[in-house]
């Protein structure tokens, strides 16, 4: 169904899943939604419930307390739902790679559709990452 796919790309609803982040990427994600960058131009909205979401924005390194919950969260989403890793931590754990409390990468748990590196990534980088995701899905 071409029209449904086209509409999906024009209205991505985003849910933010923080996997024990340092709050740095979270602030940049919120920045991307503020008037200066205004992601609503592309139909992107921040939603509160995973049932409404089309994109799961994951930030941070999963730890022992929450790493099973990411998979659980994605299972509850209405498909199709894409996963975007924001920040170096969710791309490859960065300096927390050998940390005592970090069992695995985000992409060991779920299939990640787009990576946005940076510590933290600037809002421009987040927008560019979303655009790359949209282009890849086309």
């Amino acid at each position: 169904m071409e029209i449904i796919k086209k509409s999906l790309l024009k209205s991505l609803w985003v849910m933010h899943a923080p996997m024990s982040p340092c709050n740095n990427c979270d602030i940049e994600i919120l920045d991307a939604l503020t008037p200066r960058y205004d992601l609503e131009r592309f139909g992107i909205q921040l939603v509160g419930s995973i049932r409404h979401a089309d994109v799961l924005l994951v930030s941070g390194v999963p730890n022992y307390k929450n790493y099973k919950k990411l998979k659980y969260l994605l299972d509850q989403a209405a498909k199709p739902c894409f996963v975007v890793g924001v920040g170096t931590c969710s791309c490859g754990r960065g300096m927390f790679k050998d940390s005592y409390n970090s069992p695995c990468n985000v992409d060991d748990l779920v299939k990640v559709d787009a990576y946005i590196p940076g510590c933290p990534p600037r809002p421009e980088a987040i927008i560019a990452g979303v655009v790359k995701l949209i282009n890849a899905l086309k």
Binding site: K5, P35, E40, R41, G48, H52, A78, K79
Partner: protein, 399 residues
């Protein structure tokens, strides 16, 4: 293939199936009206909806004979009857028009489903664009509402395992169809005011209440704790805004001494809003409708930030799409309802009036923070309800 073809043909033929309404144009006599309707029913031989006319006891009549029937104008007839009653026999002449209406066509296509949906998309675009400009943003593209809806059509529908499935699935569908029904009624009165029937303002207010009740049922059937929180808030909010809303709508009813939207629209030389009571009632109605649509100062029941969508939290796919669309349709017809009751008429000026009322909603929405549910209840019961009572007292005393 053949089956689908015949089903399509049948569907299209029912879409244009006519019903006939008979309207007595000029006759104040109760007996004459009664005869007119009786005769019409037998003569036309089709399903007849009685629009106006009061019943009198038929035992008074012994025999009715029709003397002549002549066509006066387009769909307007003059009938002359000879009526024999127990006392004497009288001659009555009655004028009536026959309106051919297309109920399914009206409900599904023109002022109904299709038209309401597209109008709601446009109004939701205007609302979001104005909001964006007030917040110094660029805002979404024109057909954003349509993209959202079509996207939700293609998403998976999830039903929680702990949910009561029938109520959970049915409630958005019922809420949506009732909203479309209200929209059809109001648009039909707007384009063709003569379709208005006695008591329709009560029907409209009643039907507008149903979607909220139905969503509360559906959300509590979902088995989610946060949805339950949303239901509790929605219920409290409803208990606080319904009474001021109805008392505010009573002011036009008192002024025109009629519960028919057509009479309220054609009531007086001066619109109701220019009197003191009318103005107070207008303010109360705007604020109460703000709560009814669930816009920002009173959206505690579906707060995205605290309870993650509240009553809509467990809905996904097309069910969520229907809830959102019903909300947008309600948003697009509420200014129309306010115009019809408080300052009707004025030809093309209606467009300007509509946008002034819509702008009022958008401005209230954008300049106020969300109230806690207790604050909302206090606001409605301690400030808004007394104002509406004062408006009623002023209206009764003629101001």
């Amino acid at each position: 293939m053949k089956k689908i073809f015949f089903i399509t043909i049948f569907f299209i033929s029912t879409l244009f199936a006519e019903k006939i309404q008979i309207r007595v144009v000029a006759s104040d006599d109760k007996l004459a009206r009664y005869i007119a309707i009786q005769e019409a029913a037998s003569k036309v031989g089709q399903e007849v909806i009685v629009v106006s006319g009061e019943q009198i006891h038929p035992s008074k009549i012994e025999k009715i004979s029709m003397m002549s029937k002549s066509l006066l104008g387009r769909d307007t007839y003059e009938y002359i009857f000879l009526v024999h009653t127990k006392d004497d026999s009288m001659k009555y002449s009655i004028f009536w028009t026959i309106d051919k209406i297309l109920p399914l066509f009206n409900f599904l296509i023109f002022p109904g489903l299709l038209f309401s949906i597209f109008f709601a998309f446009i109004i939701s675009f205007i609302d979001r664009k104005l909001t964006a400009r007030i917040q110094w943003r660029q805002g979404p593209p024109l057909w954003q509402g349509m993209y959202d809806f079509i996207k939700l059509l293609g998403k998976e529908v999830l039903i929680p395992s702990r949910a009561q499935k029938t109520i959970f699935v049915l409630s958005p569908i019922v809420g949506f169809s009732i909203t479309v029904l209200v929209s059809t009624m109001l648009w039909l009165y707007f384009f063709v005011p003569k379709y208005s029937f006695s008591g329709d303002i009560i029907v409209v207010l009643y039907l507008m209440t149903v979607p909220a009740v139905v969503y509360m049922l559906g959300a509590s059937a979902s088995g989610n704790v946060v949805a339950g929180l949303g239901v509790s808030r929605e219920m409290k909010l409803m208990l606080s805004y319904e009474l001021p809303l109805i008392t505010a709508i009573l002011v036009p009813v008192i002024k025109s001494s009629s519960i028919k939207i057509l009479d309220i629209m054609q009531n007086s030389s001066q619109p109701i809003i220019f009197s003191l009571s009318g103005f107070l009632a207008f303010l109360v109605a705007v604020i109460s409708f703000q709560a009814k649509i669930g816009l920002v100062p009173f959206d505690a029941s579906e707060a995205e930030q605290e309870i993650a969508g509240g009553i809509t939290i467990e809905y996904s796919g097309i069910l969520l799409g229907l809830i959102k669309l019903a909300k947008q349709i309600l948003y697009s017809i509420v200014p129309l309802f306010i115009i019809m009751t408080f300052f009707p008429g004025g030809g093309l000026l209606v467009v300007i009036k509509y946008f002034i009322v819509l702008l009022l909603f958008v401005l209230i929405r954008n300049t106020n923070p969300r109230l806690k549910i207790g604050q909302s209840i206090n606001f409605f019961w301690k400030i808004i309800f007394p104002i509406s009572l004062i408006a009623i007292i002023l209206a009764v005393s003629g101001k």
